[in-house]
């Protein structure tokens, strides 16, 4: 029981202090690994790989994994809810505040800036995915040839998907599943 509580609070702290999502949790996870010995640094590295290939954010995955390794299924659930709890509480407070003050001119003006920032963050996320899918920085550094920067097959696939998505209104999951199959068939 005390172990479950400790798991909950360790991950509660991580959730409270890692602002900005997934990768922001990494330094806290390394620190926790050193302090508690619940998982190793190598486990964290493995979990980055797993998180890139499963749904869910790395922080959530690491909490579930570490909790499970230390205290079984219940441990996994306790750690994960611990991680989520601070953001639930804080967002509830903000949502309350916004409900009351959304017509306030200062709040509206703040959103004028926040919206531009939000789109910039989304674009930066796009750049990060493009870096590991459509272009090949390593090949470019090796050859110095600008053409080798682009991966032709994924780029053609992306263009085809872009046109297809504009044409048909399927659920995004269908496109994701389709792309997984194409990836396997073409050995991307």
């Amino acid at each position: 029981m005390t172990l479950l509580l400790r798991l909950f609070f360790e991950f509660f702290k991580t959730g409270l202090f890692s602002v900005g999502g997934g990768l922001a949790t990494l330094p806290f996870l390394y620190e926790m690994s050193t302090n508690t010995g619940w998982f190793t640094h190598a486990d964290v590295a493995d979990m980055i790989a797993v998180s890139e290939s499963t749904p869910g954010a790395i922080g959530i995955n690491m909490a579930t994994y570490a909790g499970f390794k230390t205290a079984g299924v219940l441990g996994g659930i306790c750690a994960t809810i611990g991680l989520a709890m601070p953001s639930i509480i804080i967002i509830l407070l903000i949502a309350r505040f916004l409900e009351r003050f959304s017509d306030n001119s200062y709040v509206q003006k703040a959103f004028y800036g926040l919206r531009a920032a939000s789109i910039a963050m989304i674009t930066a996320a796009l750049v990060n995915v493009v870096r590991v899918s459509l272009i090949d920085l390593q090949a470019y550094e090796l050859t110095g040839n600008l053409l080798s920067l682009f991966r032709p097959v994924p780029i053609i696939m992306a263009a085809a998907l872009f046109l297809l998505i504009r044409k048909v209104k399927w659920h995004p999951v269908v496109f994701i599943a389709l792309s997984a199959v194409v990836g396997i068939v073409l050995k991307l």
Partner: protein, 187 residues
């Protein structure tokens, strides 16, 4: 009660297929919450992401809490967030128990190379849809450009600027130089 269950199950579904973290969730949320159920609007979603970026915790969770609260109060917030967590918890428990070298499997790697291409396209479409209501004039375009460049080249900068700080600065900038009124979104 019925509505809470629907909220929970909707987010279970989103959590199960949310590959690629926070922003990859946007197209899924749009389909499930805006076009299928009209529980929220695309502009509101974008605002939730902005707030989620500068508050503690994982963005995807923050957004789930927000939407759940708007729909059904505190209980709704918990239903949505726990729903979102269910899929990843189950998958990681299975992987931790049975598949230690899951990420190294060749077929998994190929599948995810394909999925990443799709995620690029889905995120691009989301940006195009939000562009007009977010980048409304020259000032916001400049703000957009500066933040984007700082984010993209954060690796080569001599100092590290946290993303949350950039978002908060943009909000403060808005308070001083922004325009209010004549607005969509925040209803």
């Amino acid at each position: 009660m019925r509505e809470l269950l629907e909220l929970y199950l909707t987010f279970v579904r989103i959590g199960f297929v949310n590959f690629g973290g926070g922003y990859a969730m946007l197209p899924l949320l749009e389909k499930e919450l805006v076009s299928k159920r009209s529980w929220t609007t695309m502009d509101d979603l974008r605002d939730y992401f902005a707030i989620g970026q500068c508050t503690p915790g994982i963005i995807a969770l923050n957004v789930s809490t927000f939407i759940g609260y708007r729909k059904k109060g505190v209980a709704g917030a918990f239903a949505a967030t726990l729903g979102f967590l269910s899929g990843p918890i189950l998958i990681i428990l299975l992987i931790a128990a049975f598949l230690t070298n899951f990420a190294e499997l060749e077929i998994v790697q190929h599948a995810f190379a394909g999925i990443r291409v799709c995620v690029c396209v889905l995120i691009l479409q989301a940006i195009l849809r939000l562009w007009k209501s977010s980048v409304v004039d020259r000032t916001t375009f400049l703000l957009y450009l500066v933040i984007l460049l700082l984010m993209v080249f954060s690796g080569v900068l001599p100092f590290k600027i946290p993303a949350a700080l950039l978002v908060i600065t943009a909000g403060v900038f808005g308070v001083f130089f922004g325009k209010s009124g004549g607005k969509e979104g925040g209803k």
